[in-house]
């Protein structure tokens, strides 16, 4: 394989047929280029989808109330379901093994004012566990704690954007800000990787807001995370148990799809994974079909080369070349053209991806790139492709009869 004689031969044929070699190689390079770009695009879509979830824990489940669509347990249909504080406790006690963090959410809007600055923001009144569920990153100060809940303290954790808007260059920590006329003390500032909108949010203790709003026990939804060691099937099984028990508690028909919404990220993840897997499959399929065209091209050119060199092969055989040596020569040449042109295609695709990939950051498409495993796979595919392309011509070459090749009279 690393024989100078063999390589001299290969380079000679390539050199005497530069254009032909280039055109053939181009088809394979192009095929690999498309294959890699397709895979990178699927990868980009995948990244885009997953980024949507990025700011939440991936093992989270959200429970939202709805309106029943079926009469059940003596109630008519069209009944609005209302979640309350007790529901949180109930879930906690029903699934001590499964639930990792749990928090209620109470939504409100607030017109916030600090000195001359005002702004309208959404407030999420939550439990301390909410920080872990939403993966909220507190950059200064602290998050809401149990004491705030018990004391119904008028404290707030504000997003970075809120702090910028209201406080300009001042340090908001410890300052008092008015929400709809009520004074709240800023105890923390948070950032969010997900998006800027999340940073226009304000967190407050749930008990405080429930007291402000008519001393209610109502909550808008429950967010929780389950045991992170669960795999997809365990987590789906858990969310269905959770659904059953919550439906029973609120007297909703088990078949009723709209009385209660349980949203499990694992399920969404699962769906997206299978979706992108299908896309990937299509990408690979299309790429391979194009590659097949390239392989046929190389095979075609090798047949020509053999035909042109019939006489030379005859001479070699007369001088004692074994058929296997001829086969090796042809195969090596074929693999060489395929591999080199494939690598050029790979390199081009990689350079383009490296140059523009990181700049693409849209919600549905982000940082298309190829992994090392794709490159390795492509390499293996190329070598196999080269062998396949050369196989038939090589057999043909090995069967050249020296007597026929040498008859020149």
């Amino acid at each position: 394989m690393f024989d100078r004689d063999v390589w001299q031969e290969i380079f000679n044929t390539l050199k005497t047929n530069k254009l032909r070699t280039f055109l053939t190689g181009f088809s394979v390079g192009w095929a690999i280029f498309i294959l890699v770009m397709l895979l990178a695009s699927v990868n980009g879509m995948e990244n885009g989808f997953y980024n949507q979830f990025n700011d939440d824990a991936t093992n989270s489940i959200f429970v939202r109330p709805g309106t029943t669509s079926k009469a059940y347990g003596g109630f008519e249909e069209g009944r609005r379901i209302q979640l309350e504080n007790d529901d949180v406790e109930y879930i906690k006690q029903s699934f001590p093994e499964d639930v990792e963090y749990i928090s209620a959410r109470y939504y409100a809007n607030a017109t916030a004012r600090y000195k001359d600055e005002t702004g309208s923001y959404s407030v999420q009144a939550v439990h301390p566990d909410h920080q872990a569920i939403e993966k909220t990153l507190v950059v200064s100060g602290r998050y809401i704690n149990e004491a705030d809940i018990v004391n119904k303290a008028k404290v707030a954790v504000i997003g970075r954007k809120v702090a910028e808007d209201l406080f300009k260059n001042e340090d908001p920590l410890g300052k008092f800000v008015e929400f709809n006329g009520l004074s709240f003390r800023v105890i923390g500032i948070f950032t969010d990787d997900g998006d800027d909108n999340a940073e226009r949010r304000i967190y407050a203790p749930i008990s405080t807001y429930q007291r402000i709003y008519k001393n209610t026990n109502d909550i808008n939804m429950i967010a929780l995370t389950y045991n992170p060691t669960y795999d997809i099937s365990t987590s789906l099984e858990f969310s269905s148990r959770l659904e059953d028990i919550m439906k029973r508690r609120h007297k909703i028909d088990p078949e009723d799809q709209s009385g209660l919404y349980i949203f499990n990220y694992a399920e969404a993840y699962d769906n997206i994974s299978s979706f992108t897997a299908v896309l990937k499959g299509i990408g690979i399929g299309v790429g391979f079909l194009i590659l097949v065209a390239g392989i046929v091209g190389i095979g075609n050119i090798m047949v020509f080369t053999i035909k042109e060199r019939t006489k030379e092969i005859g001479i070699r055989k007369a001088l004692g070349a074994r058929p296997s040596q001829i086969v090796n020569l042809v195969l090596l040449e074929s693999v060489f053209i395929t591999a080199i042109s494939g690598f050029v295609g790979l390199l081009f695709a990689w350079m383009i991806l490296a140059a523009i990939g990181p700049t693409i950051q849209t919600p549905a498409f982000s940082n298309p790139s190829v992994s090392l495993s794709v490159v390795v796979t492509a390499t293996i595919v190329l070598v196999i492709a080269g062998v396949l392309a050369g196989l038939l011509p090589a057999m043909k070459a090995a069967n050249v009869k020296p007597i026929v090749a040498l008859s020149d009279k």
Partner: protein, 233 residues
Amino acid sequence: MIEIKDLHKSYKMGSNVLHVLKGINFKVEEGELVAIMGSSGSGKSTLLNILGMLDGADSGEYTLDGVPIKNLSETKAAQYRNKFLGFIFQSFNLINYKSALENVALPLYYQKVPRKERQEKAMKYLERVGLKPWADHLPSELSGGQKQRVAIARAMAAEPKVLLADEPTGALDSTTSYEVMDLIQKINDDGNTILVVTHEEDIAHMCKRIVHLKDGIIVEDKKIEQVRAEQYV
């Protein structure tokens, strides 16, 4: 060295069967210089191809240096060709992108001789045919006579038992032909067995024995007084 008994060979040409060799009996001792003569279609090239293991016989026996040559696989045939035979062709059949030296070294490559040793040996044979200064030249930079001398050096490089020359002077003018024959005679003087296929009387008479083929059988087989080519050079 070579022994042939009742050799038959026929070719199918469509529905016709062309009987080319019709029972050849023939023996060559070591160190002989034999000319095989005959008009075209007499079967002399077919005989040479069979002797060179480039083609198989339909029936009959062929023994080369005590080894029966029969039903060879491609690989085996290649090995025997490499070990036993050196070919010299009318059209030289040098590989055009290899230098004279590399062409001579090619049979040694197929004997798996290490590169360095290969080159030394090839250089030795090039020197013997008087072409050492042209070692790095490509065939296209050599004259016809020089090309044939390179081909002879290549045929000898593997140190075969028998040299088979198919019309070695067919593409050369008479002066060059004599030079080549002079070289062949000298190689024969060193004890090498050589078979020359030719249809030229003067070339045939520079051998030591003439075998005349006609319509697939040997019509005449005689030893002759060798004419030395040296005097014409």
